[in-house]
Structures are given as C-alpha cells and as structure tokens.
Amino acid sequence: MAKIKLSKKSSRIDMTAMCDMAFLLLSFFIMTATAKVPEALPVDTPASTVQTKLPEENLATLTIGKEKVFFGVTGREVRSETLGRMGEKYGVKFSEADKKKFALLDGFGVDIRQMKQLIDMKNEDRMREGTQPGVPYDSINNQLADWVKISREVTKDLDGKDLDIAIKGDAKEEYPTVKKVLDILQKQNKNNFFLVTGLRSDDF
C-alpha cells in the first residue's frame, strides 16, 4: 500500500491581498462618507417608522426648536440668488463677496438686517448657541414667509422645479410654533412637505 504523503506546505494563508483590498475599500468608504456638518440650531427629531428618504437636492429645510425657526436651502446658486432678491425686497445691499460667503452657510436664523454681521462672523462664533435669534415669522414681520417664497421662485427660475420643503422640528417643541410654520406654507399653497424624523423599530 502506498503511503499517503503529507504535504509539507505550511497551513498559513497569505493575507496580503485580502488586507490590501480591505484597506482599499476602507479608504473608499471614508472618502465618500459625508462629514457631519455642525448645525446652527441642534434639534432632536422625533422618531417614526415611516422610511421615506429625504431628497438631497432642491430642498429647503425649516428647523424649529426653542420657538426659533432657522432656514436653509440646498444649492449654492439658489442661496446667493435668494439672498440677492431678499436684499432687494428689504432694501439691504449685499456685495458679490457677501453672496459668495452666504452660499457656504447651510442654515441661518437672523433678521435680514443683521445678515451682514452674520456673514462677516467667524465660523465658530456663528455656530455658538444664542448668537442667532431665529428668522422672524410673526404676522408683522414675516421674513420666513418671504424666504420660502423667494427661494421657491429662484428654484423655479433656475431649475424649473418646485422646491421641496422639509420641516425639522424638535420633539419637545410645542405645537403652536409648528402650527405657525405650517400655516405659512399653506398660505403659499405649498401643501405637501416632508417631516424629518429619526428611525424607530417596527414594534413601537
């Protein structure tokens, strides 16, 4: 009977290729992942089981928290054009440099007359809590309605699309504030919008 020859190769597997690939994938994911941007008004969104994704473009976000409302819109051209038209309406002049800097802001919450100071501020000062008092939205001075209206017009002019509106409210926010914002949108016949929520498991 012939003896079975045991091969003397070592049982180690060469993992170099695997390691290479793993790190390649890792670097890919790190680079594509979007870094979390600091928010001007941090809110804790309520959770829901509905999982519709938010659109990533053509979106204006109204952030509601502590009875303040912050406004933000996606797209740099839309931002600077909106600022220009808002300035015209309220009689505030903005230079091209101002508009360029404003286009980098994700959200803001100041009166249009204080916008210049906000633009000139340093980034860390701007994000400090309490610096921005919120966009005025009462019936006498309803700048929020104008921001929404003008940004919708600008989107229509630039892209020919209707701007989507997302409402990002704090879970603890009392209903009257939310109601005021909903009323502003309804008055402009914007009846369909997104409520930003967190994720909740199905057995809620």
């Binding site: 993992m15 790190f23 890792l26 829901s48 509905v50 999982q51 409210g169 209903y175 016949n189 930003v196």
Partner: protein, 190 residues
C-alpha cells in the same frame, strides 16, 4: 508577499561560523485584516443609516371663497383624537354638539395606547360599509387629529406615524375647538 528575505546563504560567504538557518519571519496579518473589515462594516452601516428619514405630510388647500361646501362625513365614520399634555390624548367619535357616539376616553400613544382602538374602529367602519354595500375605498374611517396648545411636535409625529402603521387612508389635522378643550380639561390633561 508578507515575508521578509532573510538572505540565506549569504552568511556562508565568509567561511566562518555556520549560522543556524533562521525561520522565515512572515508577518501575521490576521489582526490587521480583522480591524480593516471592522472599520469597513462600521462605515458602510453609518453612511446608509445617517441619511435622514422623513415622512410625507399633505395638507388640504386653503379653501377659497367660491368653493362649494364639501359634503359632510357621517358622524359614525369619524374618530377624533385630541392631543393633550403629558403625552396623553382624548378620543371620541361623532360630534361635540351633543354627547359623542363613543367616548371621550383618555388614552396614550403607541402600541399600548391608541393603536388597538384605531384598528377596532377601522374594522367596525369597514364591516358596516360592507354590509351597506358602500365603496370601501371612498367611505373608510376618517380620523380627525386636533393638536392642542399643550401638545408637542413629537405627539403630532407619533399620531401621524400611527396613521401609517394602521394604514388609515383619510386623516386630517384640524384646529381645536372649545368643546375639545373642555374634554381635555375634564380629564386633566390640558
């Protein structure tokens, strides 16, 4: 490959001492691969999960002056949820200008709260519609949501979520009336 050339044979050149042959010092990559895959998993999971979720909400058009008056929904087909303070709500069905058909009763949110009630009411309305031969799609249950000043945004989202879970097709957010506030006050959640 992850092995180092130890240059065997090179030592014999001098003709001096014979060195023992060193074993091939290959580097163990297992731990490194483990770590890399762990990080990959982490990044894959966080990038997809951190996309914000959202829920659609459609409100009715502002009524215009020359619009025809919309047809009234029969009282037995409605269920009103009045959102009060302290994460509690009051429900009733029917109208408030007399005693309601059912209720008013205090309840909580979620699975242990108002869910069974909504499902029961929905099944009841559907059964009656079937018996009457009415169109199930058109004349299903109508839920009226009335958030009070003391309720918060989370309550509203919870109730809208409840509509999605129980698959109620017709619901509306309506302004609160004095009669509804009285129900809340009677139950001490206003």
């Amino acid at each position: 490959m992850a092995e180092l050339n130890t240059g065997d044979g090179g030592g014999k050149k001098g003709g001096g001492k014979v060195r023992s042959k060193k074993s091939n010092p290959s580097v163990d990559l297992t731990a490194m691969v483990d770590l890399a895959f762990l990080l990959i998993t982490f990044f894959i999971l966080t990038t997809t999960l951190s996309k914000p979720q959202s829920m659609n909400l459609a409100m009715p058009d502002e009524p215009k002056i020359d619009d025809p008056v919309p047809p009234e929904t029969p009282a037995w087909r409605t269920l009103t949820l009045v959102l009060g303070s302290g994460d509690k709500l009051v429900w009733y069905s029917g109208r408030t200008d007399g005693p309601p058909l059912d209720g008013p009763v205090v309840s909580g949110y979620g699975k242990t709260g108002v869910r069974d009630l909504i499902l029961n009411k929905k099944a009841g309305v559907d059964a009656k519609n079937k018996a009457d031969g009415a169109d199930l799609e058109k004349s299903g249950i109508t839920i009226i949501i009335k958030p009070s000043k003391k309720s918060n945004y989370k309550n509203l989202v919870d109730i809208l979520d409840e509509m999605a879970i129980t698959k109620v097709k017709k619901y509306a957010i309506v302004d609160i009336t004095d009669a509804d506030i009285k129900f809340l006050e009677d139950n001490k959640i206003y």
